[in-house]
C-alpha cells in the first residue's frame, strides 16, 4: 500500500471508531508532512534538519454539539476517538453544526513535484549557501542575519461521514532572507523578502536575497525626515503590513456573523476607490496556499471580494454559510491541528495602469514606504507605525532615505482616497500586491 492509501485507511478507521463511540457525524482530517530545512544565522549556515509527522484531527457531532481532538499518537487512536465524543457531549447544541455533502471537482494540476522526494538536506544546505554568496556578491557591508530554506512535502486526507473522501499531495519550497547592512556605527533597518514555488526547477533564491539586500543598503545612512499630511506610496510588503490583516478580518464571515465586521454590513456598498479590486483564489497557479480543496473538503475557487471599490462577498466556511444562509466559498482554513477557521488563500489586489515611477512622478512631497512596523487595527481601521526603509519624495523624484518617521491614518478612510495602483505586482508572504498611493496620511518625523 502506498502512503496515500495508508493514510486514507487510517482516517476511515478513525471515522468508524468515533461513530461507534456515539458520534452522529464525524470528520477526520489527516496530514503527513515531510520537512527538510537549512537555516542561516549571522551570515553562516546554522542548523539543518529533517522531520516527518502525521497528525490526525477529528471533529465529531453529537446531537449538533461539536468537539475536536488532534493527535500524532496514532497507536492510541481509539482513545482520541473516545475523547472527541466526550468533548462534543459537554458542548452546547448549535443547529449550524452540520457537515457538508461531498462536491465533485477537478483537482488543481501541478501541485506536486516527484523530484521533491529526492530533495535532500544537502540540497537545502546548498541553497542557503547560495543566499549568503548572493549577498557577498552585492556588498561586503551586508549580513544575512537570518534566513531559511525549506522543502516540504505534504499529503492531506479528509474523510467525513457525509461521504467526503479526498486526498492530495503537494510539494512546496519556501525561502526568505533577513538582511542588515552595517557600516561602522550605522546599522540599517532589517529588510525581509520571501518567495516560494512548488517545483524544484523553479527554485531561485538569488532574486529574493538581492531584494532584501538592496532594501537594507537603501536604508543605510537614513536621516530625519519631514512632517506633513500628504501622499504615501506603500510598497507591496508595506501594503501587506497595513491592509491584508484588515481585509482578512473584515471579509471573514465569522466576524460579520458576530457583528465585529463593518464591511459585513456593507456588502454591495462602496468601501473603497473604484481602482481597488481584490480577489482570493485558492486555485491560483503557483500560489503558496494553492490546493484543490479546503479544510472541510470543499473545492477552492476564485472569489472576487471587492470589485471596483464595492465589497461584494465574504469568505465562508460550512458553519458561517449555513448560519448566514450564504454560499460556502470554501475558505475553511487550518491544519489537522485545529478546527476549521476562515482564512485567505492567495489574495491579490489587481494591478492598475500606472507604473510605480508614474505614481512617484505625480507627488510633490510624499513618502515611499518599503516596510511598515506598527499596528493596523482591523476593527477600528486605525493604523500607526514606523515607516521602514522609507524614502522621501520631492517634486516627483525619490529624494533621500529617512528614518524615525511615523505614518498614521485610518484604513477605511484612506481606501476611499486611494489615488494610484501600480501596474507592477510582487508576491509577498501572503498575497500578490501592487504599490498603492494613499492620500492624506499623517507623516511625523521624530
Amino acid at each position: 500500500m502506498n502512503n496515500e492509501t495508508i493514510l486514507r485507511e487510517r482516517c476511515r478507521e478513525a471515522l468508524k471508531l468515533t461513530k461507534s463511540h456515539g458520534a452522529d457525524e464525524v470528520e477526520v482530517f489527516a496530514q503527513t508532512v515531510h520537512s527538510i530545512s537549512a537555516d542561516i544565522e549571522k551570515h553562516d549556515l546554522q542548523t539543518s534538519s529533517s522531520q516527518q509527522e502525521t497528525m490526525v484531527g477529528i471533529r465529531a457531532l453529537v446531537n449538533q454539539q461539536v468537539g475536536f481532538v488532534c493527535t500524532n499518537v496514532l497507536d492510541d487512536l481509539e482513545a482520541t476517538c473516545v475523547d472527541v465524543v466526550k468533548l462534543a457531549k459537554a458542548s452546547p447544541k448549535d443547529e449550524n453544526n452540520v457537515f457538508a455533502d461531498p462536491v465533485t471537482f477537478e483537482p488543481v494540476p501541478d501541485l506536486y513535484d516527484s523530484h521533491s522526494e529526492s530533495f535532500s538536506v544537502s540540497d537545502a544546505v546548498a541553497q542557503t549557501i547560495r543566499m549568503i554568496e548572493a549577498a557577498d556578491a552585492i556588498d561586503p557591508r551586508l549580513v544575512i542575519g537570518g534566513g531559511t530554506f525549506s522543502a516540504n512535502r505534504e499529503l492531506r486526507c479528509i474523510v467525513t461521514s457525509k461521504g467526503v473522501d479526498l486526498a492530495e499531495k503537494a510539494s512546496l519550497f519556501t525561502y526568505y532572507a533577513l538582511a542588515t547592512a552595517k557600516d561602522g556605527e550605522k546599522v540599517s533597518n532589517m529588510a525581509f523578502h520571501f518567495d516560494a514555488c512548488h517545483f524544484v526547477k523553479d527554485v531561485n533564491v538569488v532574486p529574493v536575497t538581492a531584494r532584501a539586500c538592496q532594501d537594507a543598503l537603501g536604508s543605510l545612512g537614513a536621516q530625519k525626515g519631514e512632517s506633513f499630511v500628504g501622499p504615501v506610496i506603500l510598497a507591496p510588503t508595506a501594503v501587506e503590513d497595513v491592509l491584508v490583516g484588515l481585509f482578512a478580518f473584515q471579509l471573514n464571515a465569522k466576524n460579520a456573523l458576530r457583528g465585529s465586521s463593518r464591511w459585513g454590513k456593507s456588502l454591495g456598498e462602496a468601501i473603497a476607490h473604484t481602482s481597488l479590486t481584490v480577489t482570493d483564489n485558492g486555485r491560483l497557479p503557483g500560489g503558496v496556499a494553492t490546493r484543490s480543496f479546503d479544510r472541510e473538503g470543499m473545492p477552492h475557487r476564485e472569489l472576487v471580494l471587492i470589485d471596483a471599490g464595492v465589497a461584494i462577498a465574504l469568505m465562508h466556511n460550512g458553519y458561517t454559510a449555513r448560519a448566514m444562509g450564504s454560499t460556502n466559498t470554501a475558505h475553511a482554513s487550518g491544519s489537522a491541528r485545529s478546527t476549521p477557521g476562515i482564512g485567505l488563500t492567495n489574495l491579490s489586489i489587481q494591478p492598475g495602469n500606472k507604473s510605480k515611477d508614474d505614481l512617484i512622478a505625480d507627488v510633490k512631497q510624499g513618502l515611499l514606504v518599503n516596510r511598515f512596523s506598527g499596528s493596523s487595527n482591523p476593527i477600528s481601521g486605525d493604523f500607526s507605525g514606523v515607516a521602514k526603509a522609507a524614502t522621501l519624495i520631492k517634486n516627483g523624484k525619490l529624494d533621500r532615505p529617512v528614518t524615525g518617521t511615523l505614518i498614521a491614518g485610518n484604513v477605511f478612510e484612506v481606501l476611499k482616497n486611494l489615488s494610484g495602483v501600480s501596474s507592477e505586482t510582487e508576491r509577498t508572504f501572503a498575497a500578490t500586491l501592487p504599490y498603492l498611493r494613499l492620500e492624506g496620511i499623517s507623516v511625523t518625523a521624530e
Binding site: 553562516d44 475536536f68 488532534c70 468533548l87 535532500s120 542575519g145 500607526s384 498614521a408 499623517s442
Partner: protein
C-alpha cells in the same frame, strides 16, 4: 523513557541531546455566546540534536521505540555531517554548564486536571455573557480559555537528566463596541505557569471582562492623540513589552552576532542609571510568571541573568554555543517549543527591577504627557532596537493628573534612547505578559513586566 534516552546518549558517538516531549492542550473559545471551539490536543515525539565536526544537525521522530529513536539519531548526525562541509565558522565547543538533573514539578497546589471541562466551559460562557451585558454599545464578545501541559525529558551525553513539567493556563477576553458605524475594541488576557487557582487569583476573569468593556466603549468618543515626542508614564505591561521586544531580542546572543546594535556595547552605558533589567528562569518578585523554567532545552539549569545593571550593559542571553563563543557561562536561554523544534536562544521572564518612587509621584511629576497601559494591537521591534507598539489604553496627563482617553495611540522610538530618558522608576511590580507567545521562527511562552517607568517616547498620532 529517561533510562532509554540515557542509554542511547551514552552509547552515541560524539555529543548528542535527546528531548522527549508530551504536550496536552485544551482550548475553549466562545464568541457572542456561541461555542466556537472545544478542543484538545495530544502530541508526543523526540527531538535529537547532534554535534559533529563543529556543526549541529537536528531530526525529530514520533516513533518512540528504541529503533525509531536510533533512526532519528542517525538522521541528526547525517544532517550535521552534510552541513559540516558548508559551514564557515565551526562551533569550537559547547560551554561547560551546570546541567539539570532531577525532577522539576509544576509550582502549584491546584493542578488543572482537578477542574473539569464542564467547569471551564461554564466559566468561559459566563464571562462572555458578562461582556455582552456590560454595555448596550457592545456588539461582539469573545472569551477563551487555553491550557498547555508539557512533560519533557531532556538527556545529553554530557550529563543532563532532567524531567520537567510545565503547566500554563491562560484566559482571554475581547469586547467590540459600536456607535454611529464606528467600532473599537478592548481586550484583556492573563496567563501563569501554575494551576487553576493561580490563574484565577492573578486578575479575576470578571475584572478582565469589565476592563475590556470599559476600554472598548470609552474609545468610541476618544480623540486621536497629537503625534510627537512626549513625557510618558509606562505601566508594568508596557515596561514588559519594551523590555522583551525592544531590548530583550537585541541582547539575544545569536541576534547580537547577526549585527544587533548591542554588539560591542558590553560594559557600556546603554540606559539611565536607574534602570536594571533582568531575564530569569525564576519568577522573582511575584510567583507564577509564565516563562519560568528550571532547566532549558539544552539541559542547562537556568538562572537569573542581569542584562543591564544600573544602566550598564552586563550580559547577553546565551545558549551553550554562544556562551563558548563569548567565553562566558551559559545563561539557560536555549528553548524549543515542541519536540520538532531545535532549541534556539529565547527569553524567559524579562523585567526591569522596581525602584523607589511611588506610582502616584511618577504621575504627579508630569505636567503634560501620557499614561500608557498595556500592549494594544500590533507591535514590532528591530535588532537596532527601533520599536513601535500599539497601546491598549492611553490617557492624557495634565498637571500631574490622569485625564481623558485617547484612541489608536502608539509609542515608538529607539528602546535605548527611551531607557536613557528614564528619570523615575516606580516601587511597584507586576508580571503582565503571561498570556503572550513570542515568535522567533518558533513560538515560546514568555512573561515580562516590571514597575511603572517615567520616560520620553514618540507618540504616534495625527498631524
Amino acid at each position: 523513557m529517561q533510562e532509554l534516552l540515557t542509554r542511547i546518549a551514552n552509547q552515541s558517538s560524539g555529543w548528542i541531546e535527546l528531548r522527549f516531549q508530551e504536550r496536552k492542550t485544551k482550548q475553549i473559545a466562545v464568541r457572542n455566546g456561541t461555542l466556537e471551539e472545544s478542543s484538545s490536543k495530544r502530541i508526543q515525539g523526540i527531538g535529537v540534536r547532534a554535534l559533529i565536526d563543529g556543526v549541529f544537525g537536528f531530526a525529530s521522530t514520533t516513533d518512540l521505540t528504541e529503533q525509531g529513536i536510533l533512526r532519528a539519531v542517525a538522521a541528526a548526525q547525517g544532517a550535521a555531517r552534510t552541513s559540516s562541509g558548508a559551514k564557515k565558522h565551526r562551533i569550537k565547543g559547547l560551554a561547560d554548564a551546570s546541567m539539570g538533573v532531577g525532577t522539576f514539578p509544576v509550582p502549584t497546589t491546584d493542578p488543572l486536571d482537578n477542574h473539569s471541562l464542564e467547569e471551564k466551559l461554564a466559566l468561559v460562557m459566563t464571562i462572555d455573557e458578562r461582556i455582552r451585558k456590560g454595555s448596550s454599545l457592545i456588539v461582539s464578545s469573545s472569551t477563551s480559555y487555553g491550557e498547555i501541559q508539557d512533560e519533557k525529558i531532556i538527556v545529553t551525553s554530557d550529563g543532563a537528566k532532567a524531567h520537567v513539567f510545565i503547566s500554563i493556563p491562560e484566559f482571554r477576553v475581547m469586547a467590540v463596541a459600536q456607535k454611529d458605524g464606528d467600532q473599537c475594541f478592548g481586550n484583556g488576557a492573563n496567563g501563569v505557569n501554575g494551576g487553576w487557582q493561580d490563574l484565577m487569583s492573578l486578575t479575576p476573569p470578571e475584572e478582565l471582562a469589565d476592563y475590556a468593556v470599559r476600554i472598548a466603549v470609552e474609545q468610541l468618543d476618544a480623540p486621536h492623540p497629537p503625534g510627537g515626542l512626549a513625557t510618558v508614564v509606562l505601566d508594568p505591561g508596557l515596561v514588559g513589552v519594551l523590555s522583551h521586544e525592544a531590548i530583550g531580542h537585541s541582547v539575544e546572543a545569536d541576534i547580537v552576532l547577526g549585527g544587533a546594535i548591542t554588539a560591542n556595547k558590553m560594559n557600556q552605558k546603554v540606559a539611565s542609571e536607574l534602570v536594571t533589567m533582568v531575564d530569569s528562569g525564576v519568577s522573582e518578585h511575584r510567583p507564577h510568571a509564565t516563562g519560568t523554567l528550571a532547566v532549558d532545552d539544552e539541559g542547562v539549569a537556568t538562572r537569573k541573568t542581569t542584562l543591564i545593571e544600573n544602566g550598564i550593559l552586563r550580559s547577553y542571553l546565551h545558549n551553550r554555543e554562544t556562551a563558548a563563543h563569548f567565553g562566558v557561562e551559559p545563561t539557560g536561554n536555549a528553548r524549543a517549543f515542541e519536540y520538532s523544534d531545535a532549541p534556539i536562544i529565547r527569553m524567559r521572564n524579562t523585567y526591569i527591577e522596581p525602584g523607589v518612587t511611588p506610582v502616584e509621584e511618577l504621575i504627579a511629576g508630569v505636567e503634560d504627557g501620557f499614561y500608557m497601559c498595556g500592549l494594544g494591537f500590533g507591535g514590532q521591534a528591530d535588532s537596532n532596537a527601533e520599536f513601535m507598539f500599539g497601546v491598549r489604553e492611553a490617557r492624557e496627563i495634565k498637571n500631574g493628573r490622569i485625564g481623558k482617553l485617547v484612541r489608536g495611540a502608539t509609542i515608538s522610538g529607539n528602546a535605548f534612547d527611551v531607557l536613557n530618558s528614564v528619570d523615575a522608576v516606580g516601587s511597584d511590580f507586576r508580571w503582565d505578559l503571561g498570556a503572550s507567545t513570542c515568535g522567533k521562527s518558533q513560538s515560546a511562552k514568555v512573561d515580562a513586566g516590571g514597575p511603572h517607568l517615567r520616560c520620553k517616547g514618540t507618540i504616534g498620532g495625527r498631524q
